[in-house]
Symmetry: C2
Amino acid sequence: MHDLLIQKLLDFTHLLSEDIDLIKVACTVKPKLVPARTTILRQGDMLNAVPFILSGWICASKHLKDGRWQVLSFFVKGDLCDCGLPTLREMDHSLRTLSDSLILELPNEALDEMITKSPRLRAAFTRSSLVQSVIAREWVLSLGQLNAKERCAHLICELFWRLRAANAIKGNSFEFPLTQEEVGATIGISTVHTNRILQSLRDENLIEQKGRRLTIKDQFGLEELAMFNPSFLHLNPLVMPPPTLARPVAHIG
Amino acid sequence: MHDLLIQKLLDFTHLLSEDIDLIKVACTVKPKLVPARTTILRQGDMLNAVPFILSGWICASKHLKDGRWQVLSFFVKGDLCDCGLPTLREMDHSLRTLSDSLILELPNEALDEMITKSPRLRAAFTRSSLVQSVIAREWVLSLGQLNAKERCAHLICELFWRLRAANAIKGNSFEFPLTQEEVGATIGISTVHTNRILQSLRDENLIEQKGRRLTIKDQFGLEELAMFNPSFLHLNPLVMPPPTLARPVAHIG
DNA sequence: CGGTCCCTTGACAGCCGTCAACTACCGTGG
DNA sequence: CCACGGTAGTTGACGGCTGTCAAGGGACCG
């Protein structure tokens, strides 16, 4: 149960055994199994614990009064929904499960203790939160400059790399529980247009969808289309998979 | 020189006199005067200091290989360009002045010292960085769901409130050094369309532009159009100006 | 005076949203 | 077993928002 958090934080920094102990203490909470399509936190809620995703998919979204809404971020296995950690007063967006999810709710006090007692844990949490905001900035770039097809490809690439780093893919395929409406609300296009875009990606043999699974058939083509460069995800080089065949990088001794 | 940083951090938390001393020590660096339209950090640069803006405008931008580029954020008087603080390896975007700017470069070590020695300063810096990422998420919402005119209005509202909190406006007008190309690169539309959108905002008497200054003629109308709610900026309630006449809030003792 | 940068305008095309209808799939209940 | 309803995906027609191209105008500067 605490293994996943340890592994996650190890991606960001080196830990001592005392840090591991602190993590174990913090992780004595009982994980919650939340069914798919359940709102776990609403805009305006006070939060006294930070959800840590053991498995499943969660999305953060913000709603306008006229009904329009936008997905702000996704959280998958190994992610902290650090909606401002225990710092800002209240949730400015909602959190909702997209698939059945196992969630560990880390109480603010437990986080505070880890952060206060260990500079290494503090650095790790800071970096984790920083990576989330770098991803948000990448979404700004995508939404602002890419067209619908490129944005869609970009989203799929990002999720693919993140899930791969979280060890949550099989071959080139992964669970993809989003409806087309949700994909649209993520890349800022209508549901109908999302349908056509996904269709074109399938037609061009870039991806394949079967039920709630998505397979990347042509990773290089997809990344080329999206002008995707995974470096912004700041994945641990050790868990980074070998590069695509078609895109060689410097030899690793 | 250090006054501005102290004032900024006071917006986020309470400080003790020892904290003030730490800030004064960190601020012994000599500020740099950088002319307008100068790139101060490039994508890929290592950063060993965090720019703190004493006056002027800076923008962060990311460039695609095909020439398209997107503004990721603006930094104005009193802002820290906390491009990941001293945590992530290198700049994933560029930093450029939009007007003549006075910049204090806080060395990583000075920041480290403040953060390590004072939990209050640490909290303040964390919150400051958090607010930046909340703004990025708001841009995701704006880019994803609002149309060009709404986005433009939203941007103007955000800048207006931030500059007002930084005490950098006169009446309802402020320095607005952006070219239309830069506005377009911020809200994700072409230069030509930006021109037409700004024109329509002027025609409807929402804003006025004279030289490099912008005046808000109808704050309520502009905020209504953009569905703008300043709460996401997490401005210090004490420095929040009185609410718009047309939008009454609960009586304040 | 010429050059450059920025703003402005018109014409036209294409991406994308909206509306509406239809299909496929799944679980439920009779 | 089938009828039924709900959700998600699909398709076509049409229109509007926005991009592109091209040209011209104004301000500033060397």
